[in-house]
Each structure stands twice: as C-alpha cells, then as structure tokens.
Amino acid sequence: FRSSSQYRLWSFTKEQLDTKRVDTNAHAVAAIEEKLTMFKKDYASDISEEDAKMINEKAIPLTAEEELKLVDFYAKKVQGIAQHLNLPTEVVSSALIFFKRFYLENSVMEIDPKTIVHTIIFLACKSENYFISVDSFSKKTKASRDTILKYEFRILESLKFSLLCHHPFKPLHGFFLDIQNVLHGKVDVKYMGEIYTKTKKRISDALLTDVAFLFTPPQITLAALSLEDEQLTEKYLETKFSNTDTIIEASKDTNEKDKDSEVIKEDRPDKINYILLLSLIDQCKEVMSNPSQVSMEEAKSSAAKLYFCNHPMNI
C-alpha cells in the first residue's frame, strides 16, 4: 500500500487536507477578485452605482468551508447518478474518490462541479474496465458527448494520473474470512453474512467523508465493522493483535513427554501496534459518524455566488 499512488499522492493528515483546501480556495478567490476588478474597470461606464452595489452583494467568492460543502453536495450526486446507472460498487467508489481528489486540486470557482459529474463517472467506468462507449453513456445520462469528453484530460491531469483506487470492500471480504479463522467456532457465520452487507453500506457512505484521504482501506473497513458490531470487532482484533506475534515451534527436545511446544516470543519487525490500531479505528469512526450535511438551500446559495462570480454581466 505504501508503494501505491493512493498512499504516495493522496494520503494526508487532517491538517494537510485543510491546508490544501484553503490554498486551493485562496488561489481561486484571488483569480475571481482580479477578474471582478477587471470587469468593473472594463465596464465602469456601463455600471451604475446600483449595479456596482449588486455586484458586490452577489458576486462574492466562496469561502473554503462553502466550497467544501458544495463539493460534498455534488459528491452525493456523483454517487447517486452512478448508483442509478447500476454501476458496480468499485466503479461508483472510484468515481467518488476521483471527484473528491479533483476538488483538492481545483476550486469549484474554476470548474463548476456540474460540468464534470458525468465525465468523472465515465472515466471511472473506463478505469475500472467497465467500458461504456461515450454514445451509450450519453444516452443513459442525457449528457452530450462533448460535455462528457470535454474535461477528461483535465481530470486525469488533476488526478496526477493515479487511477488505481484501493477501496475498503476487498478488505471487508478479507476480514470476513479471517474472522472465521481467528474466531473459529465462536462466531455465527449467518450473522456474519448479515453484518457484511450492512458494513458494506456503511463503507459506501463513509467514502463521502474524508476517510479515504486520512486512513488506509483496512482501517476504514475495521471502523465500519466496529460501528456495525463493536464487540465482535474488538474480540477479533484483541485475539489477533493484542499479544505479540508468537511463533510456536516444537521444542528441540526429542523426548516425547517434553514435546510440548516451546513458545518463542518473536516480535515481528513490523508488528501491528494494537493500541495504535484501536485509536486509529476510533478516529476513523469519528470521521465516518460525522458526514457533512448540506441543505439544498446552502447548495443553491453557494451555486448562485459561484454563478455570479463567473457571470457578473448577468447581474
């Protein structure tokens, strides 16, 4: 995972993530303000006092918080449209991750989210070998060919050409198997099947938050599993990780009666730090449990500002 582009290019601390968003927003605000200044200068003779007042009231660049809310609002749309198209979970999730990454590098004030929603999904289909021709995609989504293709390169560039996403779904299946092994005989498999499905839903919802930037896929999985059944998850992690990894080796003594196994406390060089793992899972649960709630009104008011910033003439 550490050699993956997801870790190398798209893993951040909370502070780094916030800074990145503030910088992207500041960059765009500066550009917008310069554009508005130019506009007012170029059209000074045509702009009445009243107009100037309206422009100052309506064409207000978005703050970083407002941007993030608008991105979250549209991220939900990306997920909704992709699910509506019955795309596989991995494709839906990649589209979502691409969208969120794109708006780390770009401001909504530079590229309106509306204009890239379909392209992002189309690119995710291609990237996940779920190829749909642009014509049939256009038919399904009612978006025009040109709209779909227009920003494909720009998106790929903003993604730093990193298309391989590690989602928490395969780890979920992996832990589903390993729990059966580690807690063999102590867990009801039918029950496991039920929580598997619910946990999968939790993971899909979690990808709308920032967890994919802040934690590794398995940590996200374990956090979702823990939200679903804390006791089972703790039992599993404690059994698996709490004591040092031991390598049981038959004692050297050939004497039958001493043939009990000699436990060698072999600390693995890369032993999992059980306490740290638990705290990471708790932090991840915290993020997952506080998804961004954006009302339609908030989204509309930000979208209006966005519109007037880019179309002051219409004021």
Binding site: S3, S4, S5, E90, F122, L123, K126, S127, N129, F131, S133, V134, I148, L149, E152, F153, L156, E157, F161, S162, L163, L164, K170
Partner: protein, 298 residues
C-alpha cells in the same frame, strides 16, 4: 524538461520518440498518445498504461518516469530501453548461452511476479514486450492490455494476448481466467529462447488451437476438468501429449530441470499450471550454470 529527438515507432494509439530529460541529460522514451483516434475520449490502452505503471516500481518492469500533457496529447515519459528479446532471438549473429537464457527467464519471472503480487495481469507477454536496458536488465513493458486481477464475478474477454503466446483457456474462450495466462506466455517465450524460433506459430486463431494441441497434446476432462464443456472443444482434433523423450529431443539443450520448468509453465489445466512463485523456486534456477550477470550478456 523533455525533448523529442527521433521518432522510433508508431502504433495504433501512440507514437514513440527518443528524447532527453534536460535537467539530468537522461535518455528517455516518450510515448505520445494520439487522442484524436479514439472516439470515446482517452484510449483504454493509455488509461491502462497510466493506471498500472503508476503503481509498479520494480527493476524488471519498465519505469514510468513522468507523464505530461502537451498540445492536448498525453505523453508518457518512459525509461529508455534500446532493444528487446525479440531482436535478440531473431538476430542469428547474436550468440547466447543457456546461462543467458536462465538470466533472462529469472528477470522476466521476477517482473511478472511483481505484477501478480500487485494483482495486475499483463495479458500481452511476448518477446518484443520484454525490453532490455543498457545494463542488460529485462523490463516487462507495454501495459496497454493490463488489468487488475478480476473480482470473482467479473467477465473478461478471452481475446487478449498475442496469438502465439495465448494460453489454451483463452483459445477455448474462457471468461474467468487468472494470472495463469501470463505464465503460459512465459513458458512459450522460454521455449522460443531455447529453440530460437517461435514455438507455436499459429496462422490464425483456429490454427493456433491445432498447433498448440498437436505440440502438447489435446487436453481431456481427465487432466483438465470441464475443458470439454467449452463450446469450441467439440471440433478439436485429438493429439497425444508428447512423451518426455520427445520433449528432450525437441529441446536438446534443455536440462531436466529446464524441461520441468517449461512443462510446469505449459501445463494445460490452468488450475494446475505453475504460479510465478513456483517457477522462481524451481531447481532450474539453482542448478548449474548459474544465471549470467545481466551486465555481461553481450
């Protein structure tokens, strides 16, 4: 930062130039992806090259140095690799030894193993996709047909891998194949290195099946459960598998361990075919002669 000095190749979806990285003077190859050719936006082969080369970092896999856009074209900056295994096999002026073959197979298997452990199928292994660096390292290249190892329910196209190197399950139309298809290709390459001519050169897809089974025997349900259920199976000519002696006669320079390795890689039943790990652990690589030091291979 990069110059394009000489055009060295043109494919369906890309033009390849030789160039230099200005800041370091390093020789590089630039694969310029033609964007106009593909009506569905960016070409799938380009998406795959970018997607998988971004994740792989191994001495025996071609290095993706950088990627940039220029004049609305996507440019992949790759490490400069002057020749490939196909050139070496074809050029009768080049003499190479069993130790050289062993070295090339070792490096190739390491590169492919690294792809497989990252759950990436290459799906187009053949001698001219095994490039050779100035210091003799083999580099697996051209990930235009690569894909992640599928999830169990994924349906895959069987129309992959260049015909002569195509595994029998693909020839029979399999849709749920595994990394075993890459191992088959490597087995054919191994045979070709020992023979210095293509081992199973089919004229077309139907002939390829016949050539393959004539050389290695027609599989039956006994050794490959379910093979007779492939729709194309009924029209097949039945050939007996070659005896060990026949194999020895065909590959006179091959040691017993080399024949074991090749037979493991060319096992008809993909479920029983050797994995890259089994290949790397075969005694062929530990018996004499040791693999040549890549930098000394002429």
């Amino acid at each position: 930062e990069y110059t394009k000095e000489k055009k060295v190749g043109e494919g369906t979806y890309a033009v390849v130039y030789l160039g230099t990285k200005q800041s370091t003077g390093r020789k590089i190859a630039i694969k310029e992806i033609k964007t106009s050719e593909f009506k569905d936006g960016l070409d799938m082969s380009a998406i795959r090259e970018v997607k998988y080369l971004q994740e792989i970092n191994h001495i025996n896999v071609i290095e993706l140095v950088d990627i940039f856009m220029a004049y609305n074209n996507l440019n992949l900056v790759l490490e400069y690799l002057p020749t490939d295994l196909e050139v070496v096999i074809k050029d009768q002026n080049i003499l190479f030894t069993p130790a050289d073959i062993k070295s090339w197979m070792l490096m190739t298997l390491r590169g492919v193993y690294h792809c497989h452990r990252n759950f990436i199928l290459h799906r187009d292994l053949k001698p001219n996709n095994l490039l050779i660096s100035p210091d003799g390292q083999i580099k697996v290249a051209d990930f235009g047909l690569a894909r992640a190892i599928p999830a169990p329910y994924d349906v895959l196209t069987s129309n992959v891998v260049t015909r002569w190197y195509r595994a029998p399950e693909l020839l029979l139309g399999a849709k749920h194949y595994t990394s075993a298809v890459d191992v088959w290709s490597l087995g054919i390459i191994f045979a070709e290195l020992m023979l210095r001519i293509p081992y199973l050169p089919g004229q077309n897809d139907v002939d390829q099946i016949d050539v393959t089974f004539r050389a290695l025997g027609t599989p039956t349900d006994k050794d490959w459960p379910g093979v007779s259920k492939f729709s194309t199976y009924t029209q097949l000519q039945t050939y007996p598998p070659p005896s060990r002696d026949e194999l020895r006669k065909r590959f006179i320079a091959a040691s017993e361990n080399a024949l074991d390795l090749m037979s493991g890689m060319l096992t008809m039943n993909p479920q029983k075919r050797w994995t890259t790990i089994q290949c790397l652990q075969s005694e062929y690589f530990t018996e004499l002669p040791p693999p040549s030091d890549p930098s000394t291979i002429k």
